[in-house]
């Protein structure tokens, strides 16, 4: 028994399309159900990283200009150092505690993403690593408090030079330099370009 080949192809095409449509429908339903939850998770993870810098702050808001456009969104300060965004941290009386900078720097094994706080008295509040792909056991120790704590209360006018005023992670000079340099360069850039920040200090 022979069937018309064109008819056959059309028939197969219709069958495959039905499968695809059913699949796409199922996916869009799942997507719309899970979407609020996914967005919630993303918001939570950003907030968690900012809370790690200013645990007492009650709200964080993106720093904007007069037109409500975000300032400092994905600005490359120098090759490898990127300011992702700048937030203001306010306490429950909505008075300013400090600024949170989300930035990244090119490390040994890829980008190191981190946040840190700048206090109004021009000192670093705390540094926290969001994401990194450094060598396990070496550069990956960048998240440890033994390394990060030395930035706390450091004045932004300090020199930030590894092996001088910053003790590197054991045998991971490149990673240590990447983070130190990332903080220093982004802070310098912000102080130079952000009027509001310098005014208040």
């Amino acid at each position: 028994m022979k069937t018309n080949p064109t008819k056959q192809i059309v028939k197969l095409g219709i069958i495959l399309s039905i499968y695809c449509i059913v699949a796409a429908l199922a996916l869009s339903v799942t997507y719309s159900v899970t979407l609020p939850k996914i967005q919630e998770q993303q918001r939570l993870s950003t907030e968690r990283s900012m809370k790690s810098v200013y645990p007492n702050a009650s709200s964080f808001s993106v720093v904007t200009n007069e037109n409500n456009d975000e300032l400092f969104c994905s600005i490359e300060v120098e090759s490898g150092v990127l300011i992702d965004s700048l937030y203001m941290a306010n306490d429950s009386n909505s008075s300013l505690i400090g600024f949170v900078v989300k930035a990244s720097s090119q490390g040994y094994g890829g980008l190191i993403m981190f946040v840190y706080g700048i206090n109004p008295d021009k000192t670093i509040e705390a540094v926290s690593i969001i994401e990194q792909t450094e060598t396990p056991g070496l550069g990956a120790n960048v998240y440890k408090s033994s390394f990060l704590d030395q930035f706390s209360k450091k004045n932004v006018t300090d020199s930030f030079i590894v092996k001088q005023d910053v003790t590197p992670i054991t045998a991971s000079t490149i990673t240590s330099k990447a983070l130190t340099n990332g903080i220093k360069k982004s802070v310098d850039f912000l102080l130079e370009h952000h009027q509001e920040m310098t005014d208040e200090k």
């Binding site: 695809c20 396990p136 056991g137």
Partner: protein, 205 residues
């Protein structure tokens, strides 16, 4: 009958272990076996996709034209993988992050398409689910066995709990790529040696 179902379930564990014996789906096995937690998470993700895909395809196996079977299989697997991605992003974002690209890559895992082609597209639903569960368990056993060795030797911990004092120096190479190849090689060798001994014993009896 019961015996037969049991056989379908257990064959994936050792005799037809997808990783150690058939050596399929190695990419994800080697990549995520740096820690036992990742290994368990990957097994969970894999189980979700293979069981649901086998179930679905076994249900509709009479409505799949033979010439279109591979594209339809792929569409169904890919749908379940995408659903899995949504679920992970919504409920287990940390796991989603640490498994990274190997979640969407479950789509091209040769184990799944192989089981569907050779089993689920021909067998009834219950058998297909059992087959999926058995294969997942075999996959899980393999990936966890590799991860246990790599995590102990490479990080000195298991499930993130430090096993030794601070003076213990883990050999970092085991959590680097060469460690993955080395550990799976030695484990397959050991398994072969074990099977040989076991088979000989069976024969002599």
């Amino acid at each position: 009958m019961k015996n037969n179902l049991l056989k379908i379930f257990t064959k994936g564990l050792f005799i037809e272990n997808p990783v150690f014996i058939l050596m399929l789906g190695l990419c994800s096995v080697l990549a995520v076996s740096v820690s036992v937690i990742n290994a368990l998470g990957m097994t969970l993700a894999f189980t979700f996709v293979i069981v649901l895909s086998e179930l679905t395809i076994s249900l509709i196996r009479n409505w799949i034209p033979k010439t279109l079977r591979i594209p339809i299989f792929i569409v169904i697997i890919a749908s379940f993988v995408t659903i899995l991605q949504f679920l992970l992003q919504a409920y287990l974002p940390a796991l989603n992050k640490s498994l990274g690209i190997f979640i969407p890559l479950i789509v091209v895992n040769c184990i799944i398409i192989g089981r569907i082609e050779s089993f689920a597209s021909k067998r009834p639903v219950v058998e297909s689910i059992l087959d999926g569960l058995g294969i997942s368990l075999g996959y899980g056993i393999a990936i966890v066995l590799i991860a246990v060795v790599r995590e102990i030797l490479g990080s000195g911990s298991i499930l993130g709990i430090q096993l030794f004092g601070s003076s213990f120096q883990p050999a970092l190479m085991f959590i680097l790529p060469p460690g993955a190849f080395l550990v799976i090689g030695i484990e397959i060798g050991a398994l072969n040696a074990f099977m040989k001994k076991y088979n000989k014993k069976v024969c002599s009896r």
